[in-house]
Amino acid sequence: MPEASARRDAASFRIPYCSYLDAHGRAAGGLPDLARSTDELVRLYRAMVLTRAFDEKAVALQRTGRLGTYASALGQEAVGVGVASAMRPEDVLLPSFREQAAMLWRGVTMTELLLYWGGDERGSDFKGPRSDFPVCIPVGTQFPHAVGVGMAMKLRREPRVSVVIGGDGATSKGDFYEALNIAGTWQVPVVFVIANNGWAISVPRAAQTAAETLAQKAIAAGIPGEQVDGNDVIAVRDAASRAIERARSGHGATLIEAVTYRLTDHTTADDARRYRTDADVSPHWKEEPIARLRAYLAAEGAWTKDAETALIAACRKDIDVAVETYLATPPPAPTDMLDFLFESLPTPLADQRAALAARESTHG
């Protein structure tokens, strides 16, 4: 053991925590500039409510056999809305499979989301955000893509930013570390967002890593990491805006850990009662993001019971239209399986396509 005087810190770091609204919707300290306009906060609020209503409908459709397995974002709507609302249209979003809040904000339609989860590739052919990536199911594999997307922007000297969202479980994967490391080394305009909802299916955050925060995983990659209250949409939006502008102005990547909670099952194929109790979950209902912002807006006089009633009705109407369109959409042509595999059908696959077409016309 060397003498204490011969030792010093080789490096030191700190992880800031960002939060504005407490669980009751009170802003103890100040609020960032974006909160000056209650109109903007109402937009965020509406988007969170729409996501929750959409999720509720999607789960109901799954339960009645009209949708495939679905991953609800119940309780973590502020992450997607806060992040996506900080982006410009020309930025690129790379979502995990629970980021419908962000995707809807970006202009993916509810019909497209239903088509996707209903088992139809046309749901990922977004008519709105044409450069955004589709949902990513293999956990964490989208992080390297985001670095590539950001690098392409940087090489072309475009003032655009790549924004990728994953879950707490994803931070245990090599893809995550490799992506952060390259983004730091190359100073890539990318923002990594971790929606830490406390659970990777049944494995709690504490069993995922011994690290005190997930945000500090940024430090090893030489990029800043920040933790935010993921149930405070103002905090998420604020942190995302700062990180995105930092990336856009050429200062490279940031990791944001948004701490939230998964109030429901992992997916409709999961039964969370196998690994956690109501007593585990119920305290988190007191911290969820929608009631919190509603309380703040109501206290500011920017939201009323009538507005709430009207919003719910409007969401339900829009959702019903999307569901009708989804349910009325006939399945794609079976030959699409081969027709979209390559830019043009390779000659060696012509026989398989012809056989498929013939089989279908016989059945049809």
């Binding site: 052919d125 990536f133 670095v147 690098m151 392409a152 390259i182 699409d336």
Partner: protein, 326 residues
């Protein structure tokens, strides 16, 4: 026109395609200042600069994954994985993403990337540096798997691979990197993908191979010719998607087929070719199809490598054997 090696032909094709298309970029471990451990990217950094020739951190998954992002955003990345044994971590990105991005988004996003890697044995390399990995990738729909067998094939096929609008896994037989020289015209002309090349006509037996085994097959054909047996030699070149038509046409004439590859026998790509012959040319066969392949064992360290790798003699012996069927 100078005679060049296969690895020089790779460099020539990369330089040509980078010259022609500013969206082409090269990335990988040691591809910059070092010019690649085999010098495949030698001189490219000096000529095209660090924006287009980029050393990556040592992270194979991310090299493939970052390339998916670059390609989806309109660039044409050519990524190098340093050795075959280090391509395994890329299978996740290649199979789950590169291969299916176009299908998943109905063409809204696509993935025009090339994943290059030296592959196969024969140079007395350390462990994990001599694997034949083609079948892993050839089984993934949406990927092209292309393997050159000569400097000219390397130049023409790599040009086409980089220009292809979809992902290509380009496996370079490292044993041939410097062992063969031939004249290669730097004319910017690509060779067609999705087709086999008949390198030698012959009416008695059809020898099918790719990569370094193609040289062995050609040497076997020369041996056989001295014995009065005329062997056709077919270079598969694009394993996936496989166009077996030239193989089938040849087998219809010869009635005999010998397939050679370095990869292990079971599940090797020779099985697919044998199945195609059985499905479409069975009635032309005069003898069972024979496979001359590596063993179903771990690729050995260099002291036993020579006992593992198929040789021209083994291919010629298999050809004589099928010729003995009347």
């Amino acid at each position: 026109m100078a005679e060049i090696t296969l690895v020089e032909a790779v460099t020539l094709a990369l330089a040509r395609t980078m010259q022609d298309d500013p969206s082409v970029i090269v990335l990988g471990e040691d591809v910059g200042r070092d010019g690649g451990v085999f010098r495949a990217t030698d001189g490219l950094l000096a000529r095209f600069g660090p924006d287009r020739v980029r050393d990556t951190p040592l992270a194979e998954t991310a090299i493939a994954g970052v390339s998916v992002g670059l390609a989806a955003c309109g660039l044409r990345p050519v990524a190098e994985i340093q050795f075959d044994g280090f391509t395994y971590p890329t299978i996740d990105q290649m199979a789950n993403h590169a291969a299916r991005l176009r299908t998943r988004t109905r063409g809204r996003l696509s993935c025009p990337m090339v994943l290059r890697a030296p592959y196969g044995g024969g140079i007395h390399a350390p462990e994990h540096h001599s694997d034949s990995v083609e079948t892993f990738f050839a089984h993934v729909p949406g990927l092209r798997v292309v393997i050159p067998s000569s400097p000219r094939q390397a130049y023409g096929l790599l040009l086409s691979a980089v220009r292809d609008p979809d992902p290509v896994v380009f496996l370079e037989p490292k044993r041939l990197y410097r062992s063969v020289r031939e004249e290669v015209a730097d004319d910017g002309r690509g060779l067609p993908l999705d087709t086999c090349f008949t390198l030698r006509e012959g009416g008695d037996v059809t020898l099918v191979a790719w990569g370094a085994m193609l040289r062995e097959a050609l040497a076997a054909a020369a041996q056989l010719a001295s014995e009065g047996i005329e062997a056709a030699v077919i270079d598969v070149a694009t394993l996936a998607p496989l166009d077996a038509s030239s193989i089938l046409r040849s087998v219809e004439i010869t009635g005999r087929c010998v397939i050679a590859h370095e990869a292990p026998l079971t599940g090797g790509f020779g099985g697919e070719i044998a199945a195609r012959v059985a499905e479409h040319a069975l009635l032309s066969l005069l003898a069972p199809v024979r496979r001359v392949t590596g063993l179903d064992c771990v690729m050995p360290l260099p002291r036993l490598e020579g006992s593992y790798l198929p040789t021209a003699d083994m291919i010629a012996a298999a050809a004589r054997d099928v010729m003995s069927h009347r």
